[in-house]
Amino acid sequence: MAAIAGDFSSVPALPKWVLAFLLLAFAYGVVPLIGSSYLFEAILLPFLALSLAGVGLNILTGYAGQVSLGSAAFMAAGAFAAYNFNLRVEGLPLIGSIVLAGIVAAAIGIVFGLPSLRLKGFYLAVSTLAAQFFVQWALTKFSWFSDNSASGVIDTPRLSIAGFALDGAIGRYLFALTIVSILTFFAYRLVSSQTGRNFIAIRDNETAASIIGIPVLRTKLLAFAISSFIIGVAGVIWAFAYLRTVEPDGFDLDRSFQILFIIIIGGLASIRGAFFGAALIVVFPLGLSRLGGFLLGDGFDSGVLDMSQRIVLGALIILFLILEPDGLVALWDRVRRRLAWQST
């Protein structure tokens, strides 16, 4: 901890780790006591899974500048890998399955990251679509992945760590929160390390990065690997803690876009941004459905909800790209600065 404290001591305001500590204390100590099961099941669990996926994609796209539309594929790879490790390896603890699932996702990420060595920007984004379609196809085609289940939809095992059952809503929430906290801390350390600065250097000017001796190819593949690892674990949380089923259809292209929107709306190249964006994406449809039901009554059915969701979300993305390209995080910081300025 000494090193961490040292890292922050040059920041004049309240040290960031104090804020992070307070937030974690609230999430662990207060939320489980006051939260309803609806809050955990419908809001916090998808929020945590999508936030973590956003953190993973932000490392690749926000920091290293490699656009990817394959996030859902890496989530699926993680979820199915964890399921199969858990099913087929006797005595492997759950945490072992999760780590191995992340490694499988990372390996797939490296394979589909290879085109990034030659392709940039839009062209790379299109080539990562290959991951999206290939993984989804393979999982549907080979029923071995879903243990030859007839429907292709499989129930995940009950969560437990060291014999301690975590299958209630609060248990699954704490399970997800712990994994997300650990990996977010890892991501935060990574982006402020030399490797993280190499990511940014490659994003901002690849030629200059190469000339000053940053190993561009290796660094890009590393970004794909780390990002896919984190997204793969997010897939495990999505399937094991949130849905409690695994099916390939849940990880379609829409999900990939959703994660991309999360980091665009939240703020590219910002760890916090992934959480801001995920909060908006998760809470927004619920709020919209309440609002629509209140205003229109029975006329506001699920079809209308779905359509109005897409319209409003699309408009929001356009507005953000024009008015606040740095996302909700920049907005938040600006508001906070103004408040601080007024209070002095």
Partner: protein, 316 residues
């Protein structure tokens, strides 16, 4: 970007400015890389062998000849300017020397090794750094991190060690931060060290790029139009910095410049390019009075010749 406070207090003693100020051969500085040591030893042993020499370099893009049969030698420790009108092939030459382009013909000899193409990825390891004509800073990094990135080629710790803060990563980070701080101070950039590089005015960004190239203490520093787009005040300031960098770090400098006036006062020797050919090479005084240089710059040529030249130039 949070800064490790321990880096500052500890490094002050190791990287005291007086160590630099003595201007000793770089071999005596503790943190020098092995390559740089070899370079310093080479320059002390014989001033005759050039640090860099080009032999018969030819380069064309499609049908357009960018460089034709260029010979150039650069002595250790000198400031060598390459000048010429627009489209003369100056930037192409720098790109050949730094390995960005592979020449069609000829050899680049760098510290007694011949290259058909200089390995750009290994450039920093060879003790060569460069700046770019159009700014090539990392806009999303602070000034300090931009400069420290100039030492990225030496990093040997992996990401896991860096994340956990174990192994050699902490020492490396301290070391590169400390050296970057020294260079920032040397170039009067300390006041802006925590600003994002992309938010600085143009002249300062140029200077940050110089700092990033200098922090590795290269044997050979390639500057591609370091004063382009500057006011005359900024230009003379930059010239002072370049000369000071050469004097303090015993760096050999090759620079490309448009502004003949600045170059005359700054350089030891000047090569003049026109239409991809070297038309003159010598001390500033020799070049100043060379008839062909005057022709190239002032266009004292017959109307027909000038016309055909302009047509050729449009292609380049």
């Amino acid at each position: 970007m949070p800064l490790p406070c321990y880096a500052l207090g500890l490094e002050a003693s190791v990287y005291a400015p007086e160590v630099f100020a003595r201007g000793l051969p770089s071999a005596l500085l503790p943190a020098q890389s092995a390559e740089a040591d070899a370079g310093a030893a080479g320059s002390a042993a014989g001033a005759t062998a050039p640090l860099l020499s080009l032999q018969g370099i030819g380069l064309s893009f499609g049908g357009v000849v960018a460089l034709a049969d260029i010979d150039l030698s650069v002595r250790s420790g000198e400031i060598r300017a390459i000048i010429g009108p627009n489209g003369a092939g100056k930037s192409s030459l720098i790109n050949v020397i730094s390995g960005v382009y592979r020449p069609d013909r000829g050899q680049v000899r760098l510290a007694d090794v011949d290259y058909a193409q200089v390995p750009a990825q290994r450039l920093a390891h060879l003790g060569v750094t460069r700046t770019f004509q159009n700014l090539a800073l990392f806009k999303g990094l602070s000034v300090l991190d931009n400069v420290a990135a100039g030492l990225a080629y030496k990093v040997r710790s992996n990401f896991a060690g860096q994340v956990l803060g174990i192994g050699r990563s902490r020492g490396e980070q301290r070391d590169s931060r400390g050296r970057a701080e020294q260079i920032l101070e040397f170039l009067d950039l300390t006041a802006v060290r925590d600003r994002l590089a992309g938010t600085l005015p143009y002249g300062l960004q140029k200077r940050v790029e110089l700092a990033r190239a200098l922090v590795a203490r290269p044997r050979l520093l390639l500057l591609d139009e370091p004063m382009a787009g500057m006011t005359s005040g900024e230009k003379s300031e930059m010239a002072t910095h370049i000369r000071a960098a050469r004097d303090r770090f015993a760096t050999t400098v090759v620079l490309i410049e448009h502004d003949v006036g600045v170059v005359m006062g700054l350089s030891d020797r000047i090569a003049v390019l026109d239409y991809g050919r070297k038309i003159a090479d010598g001390t500033p005084d020799e070049v100043r009075t060379d008839e062909r240089v005057i022709d190239a710059y002032l266009g004292v040529a017959s109307d027909n010749e000038a016309l055909s030249r302009n047509e050729g130039r449009a292609g380049i």
